[in-house]
Subunit: 279 residues, 2 copies
């Protein structure tokens, strides 16, 4: 949480949000989230967040290196994935790291897939006909029962804690839990019970019009989330992020990024998905 | 099945054993297995078999390359592992490939683990307290119920077939199914019902003294299995295999090997196991 460039541009993280009084009166808006984090009202605060920890060794290696160098200051973990124990070991050794859970209801790659944490027969609506989690978030949201999704995300949180991971926030792999009002209400309810903030920003309110009506005063919404569109080619990534930083509005902005090494493992995982294949 | 060097040294494979009349009267020994495969009684037949397909991308890539070049002529697949679908795609595209199932009841690496194909609550005795399969074959054999192991290996066979894999033989990852007479009897029974030979050789009879008493006339035993000891250092591997070939007795010998690229994925999988870490 070093302050960079000036008082007007600094880094935030979910651990700070979790630990501050930021969670009080978010909707009442008597103070901005930046103020509640101890900054001027018009400060520009940045969270640089890496998703998908636990999915592959390559992602774990690239992201933990980026956490060490400060390139990213937050990340989230996919509990059902094969490399979970590697990142759990990291989390136990680095309790200061701002690591949340990237709750996972999809298994999106052609040749490399995973199933649920729950026993498969208890969450049968979460699985496609191969016995893995669905390939897409729309299948997951339309075919899986909300009750079974709730059981599964509770199991993911429980398994993470059992492994010594102390999550600082919750988000949703491929946004499955943001697909319907019913899913998001359940997600918020589980998050509140676990006393954890969810990835939620005010710039979602236009698209997810149900959001304000189901939020409670203790729910935190940051101001903006920036995620690069998959169609932006690699040679334009630098310009994309540079432009986004120049246009940064006051408040808390989370840049959601995906780090991995461009190695044989990741090339094989991302086969037939060239736009996600680069380091 | 190209014949190499001379009529006296040739390659065999499980597909040939499965497809021939080799499975008749194995114990009666009116003819040797070599003869039943169409070779002289004293021919030296070699199966070079790569285990652990499906475990990692690196193993899949190295082994399918070795199958293409003829370095190995047989392999077996671990159904519960993360990279199963990649090798299933290969198996569907290469129906002539001699691929069996490496039935899997253990998950032996520190940071990279997997669970059963069956719903976890149906095979709870197969899991350690992390919810994955046991780290060692001795834990699996001593703690898991034989009934639940039977359900799990039947599920592994069923899932493989559903994915278009037509297994030519069955063997057992880390030898779990060879640990007790009760387990091996069940293994043979499942194999017979599926009309598949199991990895079984006459040179096991000294160590597994229960074997001859539970074999039936249709069970095939090859003559010898050669597996390198984990303690043999990498610089002595060439000498080890060269010596084994020079001393090759008549009959069918299977060399069981483990292929992978010495890349970042495999280094991370085999962390803390230096003797399994090389390509």
């Amino acid at each position: 949480m070093g302050r960079r460039l000036s008082m007007m541009l600094a880094t935030a993280c979910w651990l700070a949000i979790l630990g501050s009084d930021a969670r009080l009166s978010c909707l009442a808006q008597t103070k901005t989230l930046a103020e509640r984090l101890g900054y001027p009202a018009d400060a520009r605060l940045v969270i640089v967040h890496a998703d998908d920890l636990g999915m592959t060794h390559s992602i774990n290696a690239a992201t933990t290196k980026a956490l060490a160098t400060g390139l990213v200051n937050s990340g989230s973990i996919m509990v059902p994935c094969p490399w979970l124990l590697e990142i759990a070991t990291y989390a136990r050794s680095n309790p200061q790291a701002d690591l949340g859970l990237h709750l996972t209801l999809t298994s999106e790659w052609k040749n490399y897939r995973w199933g649920p944490v729950m026993p498969k027969d208890k969450v049968a609506t979460l699985l496609d006909n191969t016995g893995y989690l669905y390939l897409t978030e729309s299948e997951a949201a339309s075919r899986a029962s909300v009750t079974e999704i709730e059981s599964e995300i509770r199991s993911q949180i429980e398994r993470a804690r059992k492994l010594g991971i102390q999550p600082t926030h919750l988000d949703s792999h491929m946004g499955t839990l943001y697909q319907t009002k019913e899913l998001f209400e359940m997600f918020l309810r589980v998050a509140r019970e676990n006393k954890l903030p969810v990835r939620l920003s005010k710039d979602m309110f236009g698209r997810l019009t149900f959001l304000p009506s189901i939020m409670q005063p203790t729910d935190v919404a940051i101001d903006q989330i920036v995620t690069i569109d998959q169609r932006v080619p690699a040679e334009e990534w630098t310009k994309y992020y540079s432009d986004a930083l120049k246009a940064l509005p006051p408040g808390v902005t989370e840049f959601v990024i995906h780090l991995a090494y461009d190695d044989e493992e990741m090339k094989a995982v991302t086969v037939e998905h060239p736009n996600w294949g680069a380091a």
